[in-house]
């Protein structure tokens, strides 16, 4: 079973980071700096793509004679700070003055920038080394140019603050002054290139403010819907209320009578299964302004053939899924013989864990702008995956990808939603059909009704305990409509990819393990949301581990440490029936190390004061979960006041993400992840009845607000010289179970279904 969704595809770029000097011919092709200067390209090609695709040179880095260093941001910015973190690696390595660095957002173009899909918490993981090499190459060239100019030894020169200095003679030249000479030099050997010592970095490993900060606080930052084209019209679309429904007839006359409404255009939908890239069937009201389009949409009269999903009831499906977990499922991992453990057990704890559909709820609803002129489509969109958008637009509009240009704006939150290009395709189809520049504007209702939801899930775990209070067996049944089912109705089991997200790599030293899956169908669009299946898997596993710890009479922190046993690298040898994805990396490059998991457990226990006596009305809960190659442990403290109201005074995280490139953004991702996790745990749920989503806006689909959110979130970063790993998603999974375990300590009630009200 191969993951049928893009974020887990192998991304290792064997030849990534090779730096090249664009040729004279390339200069022209690229439209080089008018006043000369130094231009460097970086190859982001993965091996297989490079073989099949003509390489198009890019300019990744340039230094102009006025001493401005320009660096391309080739990943999408959605709040994780990547527009800052990758360029600052380059700048720090080359010795550039960060205040004179300009960041330019790349268009979506795989031939120039490799895979730009920004999800799976892997930008820093993948590009830390390539960015350092690019910076070191530039530094090497600039120093060599200066050394030649002065007739001195290059080794006696240093580059800092965008200046090369020869301290012996007191001479210095700016990068700008050296740029033209540096351009004439031969590139250093990429394999022997000397990189700086970690301790000498001025930006890496420090709190570095994000580059868009001033624009954010003055309202100047440009998000998707902020792009304005001359003559642009606004489209608001009435999409099918049930996935797979089709329009049988419609009357647009009342809509067209509304002042400002110009046309009504039908969008033919993808049918069933809906797919990840195609729009849903709908009627687009095109108007002079957004308000007229919204009013026009309300006035549409549409008769739908609701199709196969019209009787779908998500609550009923969860009940069916729950029953299915009583049966034998498809075995996905087996160690020992669970039946033997069960027979010899003094106690069997059997619990089910339920979690609902979740919507991403980005505060910026999807929006995209398209203009079709003389056979060329130009797009502006807040997209995580500009190339997928480009290819999907080309396919939907019968164009060559070469005739589609995708400009990436800032993303007003994404969390996986804005990987899917459906809204971009809508804009492109309408621009082509009408010949007008079009902004497709989703409303909040559109966003909640037509999301690609995080799948609802049912899990059953049986834990066997012997007479000596040892956990001897672990039988985990998991069932949830798979992401793949959105494209392929025959994909009935969770994929290997989804199981690899915090289920199949159950790390504890239990002699008998059996992990099984069951069939379920998708009746709505399923996608991926911040940490994906780790969310429900961590909830079930960390909740059960807490319950087992209690049953064997151990503290849950100590129990987790004991169950991880010796320091080792897990390889799940022969136990996993399919492929263990390890987030697209080999276990050699990124081993699964129990030592590092134990480290974060010990650290979070120490920092949170775990085990100390707590005042009455307060309680702590613990959870630990590795995801996206990052090791995270979490302690949540709860407090109940005299009126019975429960709040979250403190969350502690300990995280081992290898080298923390921008420590401030590592912390901010964990702060935000704690709050995202609190919404998952306490407030949010999507349900469907008669095939329709029952929540309409932020009154029905609730997100945590300031008074409900954890008052203090402490992030303890393990100092490490290991390869950096991502931090966007890993904070989310352990939060809900840590909160649920604290809730049990406080109230005596175990939590078996999300969301639960505090």
């Amino acid at each position: 079973m191969i993951p049928s969704f893009p974020f887990l595809k192998k991304k290792s770029l064997d030849h990534a980071g090779n730096v090249f000097l664009p040729s004279r011919r390339d200069f022209l092709k690229i439209g080089s700096l008018a006043g000369g200067g130094l231009l460097l390209g970086v190859s982001f090609q993965c091996t297989t793509k490079a073989q099949s695709q003509a390489f198009v040179p890019n300019v990744y880095l340039s230094i102009s004679p006025d001493n401005t260093v320009t660096i391309i941001a080739h990943r999408s910015e959605m709040g994780q700070g990547i527009r800052t973190s990758l360029p600052m690696i380059v700048a720090d390595e080359m010795g550039a003055d960060w205040s004179q660095v300009r960041i330019v957002q790349a268009e979506g173009d795989e031939s120039k920038y490799g895979n730009q899909n920004t999800d799976g918490s892997f930008s820093v993981r993948m590009f830390y080394e390539p960015m350092r090499k690019a910076g070191a190459t530039a530094r090497h060239l600039l120093i060599k140019a200066a050394a030649q100019e002065w007739g001195v030894d290059a080794a006696a020169c240093v580059a800092e603050n965008s200046t090369v200095i020869h301290s012996e003679s007191g001479r210095s030249l700016t990068f700008g002054a050296l740029a033209n000479a540096a351009q004439q030099l031969e590139l250093p050997d990429q394999d022997t290139l000397e990189l700086k010592e970690f301790s000498s970095y001025k930006l890496i490993g420090k709190d570095t403010p994000i580059i868009d900060l001033k624009d954010f606080v003055t309202g100047k930052a440009v998000f998707g819907a902020d792009v304005n084209l001359p003559g642009m019209k606004i489209a608001v679309i009435q999409r099918t209320p049930v996935v797979g429904a089709t329009i049988t007839e419609y009357d647009a006359s009342e809509a067209l009578a509304i002042p400002g409404v110009l046309q009504v255009v039908k969008i033919s939908g993808s049918g069933n299964p809906p797919g990840l890239t195609k729009p849903l069937e709908g009627l687009a009201v095109i108007a002079d302004n957004t308000w007229a389009a919204i009013k026009g949409r309300k006035a549409l009269q549409i008769t739908w053939d609701l199709g196969d999903n019209a009787s779908y009831d998500s609550k009923a499906q969860l009940e069916t899924m729950k029953q299915s977990t009583l049966e034998d499922g498809m075995i996905r991992r087996e160690r020992g013989d669970f039946n033997q453990a069960k027979q010899g057990a003094a106690q069997v704890i059997e619990r089910t864990y339920e979690a609902p559909f979740y919507a991403h709820g980005t505060i910026e609803p999807p929006a995209a702008i398209a203009q079709f002129v003389e056979g060329k489509m130009e797009i502006w969109a807040p997209t995580q995956h500009p190339q997928w958008a480009r290819d999907s637009v080309a396919e939907a509009c019968s164009l060559s990808a070469d005739d589609v240009r995708v400009n990436v704006t800032l993303l007003g939150g994404a969390f996986g939603r804005k990987s899917k290009p459906d809204y971009v395709v809508e804009a492109a189809m309408l621009a082509k059909e009408t010949g007008l520049p079009i902004r497709v504007q989703w409303t909040r209702e559109d966003d909640l009704h037509h999301d690609f939801f995080h799948s609802h899930s049912m899990q059953r775990i049986r834990a066997t305990i012997d007479a000596d209070k040892n956990l001897t067996g672990w039988n985990h049944h998991t069932v949830f409509p798979a992401i793949g089912a959105t494209s392929d109705a025959n994909e009935l089991h969770p994929s290997d990819g989804e199981l690899g997200l915090g289920c199949i790599d159950f790390p504890y030293e239990v002699p008998h393990i059996r992990i099984e899956t069951h069939e379920s169908k998708a009746h709505t669009r399923i996608g991926w949301m911040r940490s994906v299946s780790n969310i429900h898997h961590a909830f079930a596993i960390c909740s059960m581990m807490d319950e087992v710890a209690e049953a064997v009479g151990k503290d849950p922190v100590q129990f987790a440490l004991d169950m991880l046993a010796d320091d080792k690298a897990l390889d799940f040898d022969g136990e996993i029936k399919g492929e263990f994805g390890n987030y697209g990396e080999s276990l050699e490059d990124y081993p699964w190390e129990t030592t590092r998991l134990k480290n974060v457990i010990r650290r979070v226990a120490q920092e949170s004061g775990w085990g100390k006596s707590l005042p009455s009305g307060t309680a702590m809960g613990f959870a630990v979960h590795k995801s996206f190659l990052t090791y995270v442990a979490c302690v949540v403290e709860l407090m109940r006041d005299d009126s019975g109201e429960i709040t979250i005074p403190v969350v502690h995280y300990a995280v081992d993400c290898g080298i923390a490139v921008n420590t401030d953004r590592v912390r901010s991702q964990f702060e935000g992840g704690a709050i995202f996790g609190t919404s998952i745990a306490n407030t949010s749920a999507i349900t469907l009845k008669d095939g329709k989503v029952e929540q309409n806006n932020f009154d029905g689909y609730q997100l945590v607000r300031m008074p409900q959110s954890p008052k203090k979130i402490h992030v303890h970063i393990i100092e490490s010289n290991r390869k950096p790993t991502g931090v966007g998603e890993p904070p989310v999974p352990p939060l809900a179970p840590a909160l649920a375990n604290a809730y049990y300590k406080l109230t005596g009630s175990r939590v078996y279904a999300l969301p639960f009200k505090l």
Partner: protein, 150 residues
């Protein structure tokens, strides 16, 4: 369609709009002032917050016909150079993540401080409860408000 005289960020504007058009779309679509954001259209998330006089209002549900002669202040007009104490505090605490809700957060906080220059933590919690941030920047927002208030 009617003509409305609006005072926005100290300047006079004349707009022709349907009387039920929310101020949000007047700002964004008719006046091309994109700093104020659309989030929910139902006054549930606060992304569209502007000040009308000294009060925070949700521009997504305020019809242009109800704005009257009051002075509207948007994020673009909060300060001339981005140096309002709240903006400086937001920068000091590196508050934003994606940044999208921050115009509304800052305008809501500005109204709070106009009416209560030294709010307590509870007062900040209550005043800011209508502004959602999906990235989860609430704690830094609170710290920034404390910084700006002192």
């Amino acid at each position: 369609m009617a003509t409305y005289e609006l005072t926005i960020n100290g300047k006079q504007y004349q707009v022709d709009a349907e009387e039920d058009m929310p101020l949000l779309w007047v700002l964004r679509d008719l006046l091309d002032m994109k700093g104020t954001k659309f989030g929910c259209g139902q006054a549930l998330c606060g992304a569209c917050t502007v000040m009308l006089g000294d009060s925070a209002v949700r521009s997504c549900t305020l019809p242009v016909s109800a704005v009257g002669s009051g002075a509207v202040t948007t994020i673009e007009g909060l300060s001339e150079n981005g140096d309002h104490p709240l903006q400086k505090a937001w920068i000091e605490h590196i508050v934003p993540q994606c940044g999208y809700c921050q115009s509304g957060q800052i305008m809501n906080a500005a109204a709070l401080l106009k009416n209560n220059p030294t709010p307590s933590e509870d007062e900040i919690d209550q005043a800011m409860a209508g502004n959602l941030c999906r990235c989860g920047t609430y704690n830094r927002i609170k710290e920034a408000i404390f910084t700006a208030a002192t």
